[in-house]
Amino acid sequence: MSTIEQEMVHAAEGGHHDHHELPFIRKYIFSTDHKMIAKQFMFVSLFFLVIGGLLATMMRWQLGYPSQPMPGGMLLPDAMMAPTPNGAIMLPEFYNSLVTMHGTIMIFFAIMPLLVGLFGNLLIPLQIGAEDMAFPRLNMISFWLAVPAGILMLSSFAVEGGAAGAGWTSYAPLSASGEWTGVYLGQQLWLASLTILGFSSLVGAVNYITTVINMRAPGMTWFRMPLATWALFITAILILLAIPVLAGALIMLLFDQTLGTGFFRPEVGGEPLLWQHLFWFFGHPEVYILILPAMGIASEVLSNRARKPIFGYHSMVLAIIGIGFLGWIVWGHHMFMSGMNPLLGTSFMISTMAIAVPSAIKTFNWLATVWKGDLHLDSPMLYALAFVSMFIIGGLSGIFMASTPVDIYIHDTYFIVAHIHYVLFGGSLFAIFAGITFWYPKMFGRMMNENLNKLHFGLTIVLYNLVFWPMHNLGLQGMMRRIYDFTQYEYLAPLQPMNEFISISVFLLVAAQSIYAFNFFWSLFKGEKASNNPWDSNTLEWTVPSPPPHGNFPEMPVVYRGPYEYSSPESETDFYPQTTPPPSKPPVQELIPEPVTPTPEGF
């Protein structure tokens, strides 16, 4: 029998019953186990998170101390730094690369794979009661496409001309030809890397969608699904529809760069605005790809740690779906100043105003969830509450940009830099901290150290606000983003002290992250052993051992109720697992809605 046939037979026999120990390479490197792939995504994207943070500190050096020698700058090559007798000063082309690569790496290689690669892989099969993803080998391919994409992206720092320097949005024509930036190969590597990463995301999205639709355990109806899985499911649909548009645009731009085509180059009949339309048609759904899973994670943690059902479960689901639809018709709000017909600006303003509503619904429901709860203020809860608090600020500051006349002034200023970081750092990254801390015991069988986490939380929330709050004020004073030396403008020169203040806060903020990193690795070996269900949670992943075995569930779980039945009068404890049969009604087979046996398909 060939290996494929053997696998099929093995799968047909029930797959999870007799798992012999896999060789090292299949278990840890080319693994098809969704939990291992989740961890692989986590380690790689945490690495990129560190890289992205270091790029930001270099950028902030230049902004805090414009054109002063950077400590350690002598270690960098002359293509990045200009050596002087007193030390090395950052070159503007390197600054542009930093701006570009910080954004690109944080969005595509840190936040997105943490939310989708880590939590999508970890939570979807476990929360719906599946033994693995629908296509485990596609899942493996998804990770192993992301790795070369990351290597290509990083390698662009080492090539002649340096890394891409046209911003993470790579607006054409600046990005369409090296003659404008001096960056040829770097920009091409950027395009190639993101194209490959796009395939990785697509493969993952197909897998998630199929898994959620086909592999839910008996009784796991749509409206008994945890909100994290709901959010990841809608996110996967957004990825499936948005990434092809990006991939098409990236390939067209790569052709403009390398083959001399003229999709976006006006001198040969191209249209620069076409790039922006394609990029943002992908890019705005992408914004929601980066926040919906975070909202789902926060909902899980808030409800659990408040020991209270999530308030308005159905409106929470409808809000996720509503964002999923409205997210497609707001892309033009990135282009109010682009030269797009101003009448179109008005339509995009109205749709953008409308998309504020589902976010407001979610925020009010989170507030109502903690209202009259029994709040266990341990570290996952603190991170989740910080998510809500910071997301409120990011959401409210978005209204300024949505208003077209106000956007005239604050577009392309630090106001928008503040806004995006309140949503993406204050929002997504705090939810990621909440999620990693909350599911750490499930992933590794040990708890993280609570005191270290609280210390990390306290420092991060304070320093984070010291960094990003004043950026609103910089923007209101008219300071443009992506600017190498703002003191060149007379009216911006007085902003130097505030920029220096922000830079010092950034250095401390980045340093404070080492506490979490230390705790993460220390707890792997020394953390307190975790029980199966350390948070007294209801959802399915907490019914299996920590960490769960290959195949997850020893027996097919049966689901009797929704995921947030905390403090239910029907239960003696303050939680009521989805799999606990209702009292007076023993689990008669007829009560179970249509027992679906998930077919363990191979790839």
Partner: protein, 223 residues
């Protein structure tokens, strides 16, 4: 350090309206901010875990869901409607020009072409300035914005004007200054290595002074 949420002074006929909408939004979001964050902190304090506390078993309320759907919807749509009026004034309804100029962005400078004594652009008496825009007060200055190479963004912070310059497109921008003086021209769109140096000065004169400046320039630049 300036921690203020006030906007710096502005000097064009439309900037007051733009700033006005900003302050309306600042009030609305500011009040929402204090209410929501205040409630969050109050709940965190009031409902923190204590021995014997039991959470209320409550799945939600349709009335509340309707309320917090409709109230934000009405508010943001109202902001949208108010914004539309000002947006149309700034970007759609261009008034008859007091002065017409062509501004061309290219790496890394702003080139301004003036009509010269005959008042018409594209004739032999046109003259140019580099990184300087000279304009009369109290007259609509209508700019045809172009780019020779990549995207730039023509930014007059004190006039509350910003518009990307796109190669291959002629984009109309206008403003009317209400006070003579020197103001900033900036580039707000990353345009390459020298992006940071692509600044300039807008000088606004009284009508008479502008006439004087304009004729002296026209004479100097005659071939």
């Amino acid at each position: 350090m300036n921690w203020s949420w006030m906007l710096p002074p502005s000097f064009s006929t439309v900037s007051g309206d733009i700033d006005g909408i900003y302050y309306v939004i600042l009030w609305i979001t500011g009040i929402t901010f204090f209410i929501t964050e205040g409630l969050l902190f109050y709940f965190i304090f009031k409902y923190r875990h204590k021995e014997g506390r039991k959470a209320t078993y409550d799945h939600g309320s349709t009335k509340m869901e309707i309320a917090w759907t409709m109230v934000p919807l009405v508010i943001v749509l109202w902001i949208g409607v108010v914004s539309k009026g000002v947006w149309d004034t700034v970007k759609v309804d261009v008034p008859p020009a007091g002065l017409e100029v062509i501004v061309t962005g290219k790496q890394f400078e702003w080139n301004v072409t003036y009509p010269g004594p005959d008042g018409a652009l594209g004739t032999s008496d046109d003259f140019e300035t580099l990184n300087e825009l000279h304009a009369p007060v109290d007259q609509p200055v209508v700019i045809t914005l172009r780019s020779d190479d990549v995207l730039h963004s023509f930014f007059l912070p004190e006039m509350r004007i910003k518009q990307d310059a796109v190669p291959g497109q002629d984009i109309t921008v206008w403003f009317e200054a209400i006070q003579p003086g020197d103001y900033t021209i900036g580039c707000a769109e990353l345009c390459g290595i020298g992006h940071t140096t692509m600044g300039g000065t807008l000088t606004v004169y009284t009508a008479a002074d502008f006439q004087a400046w304009s004729s002296s320039q026209a004479q100097q630049q005659q071939p």
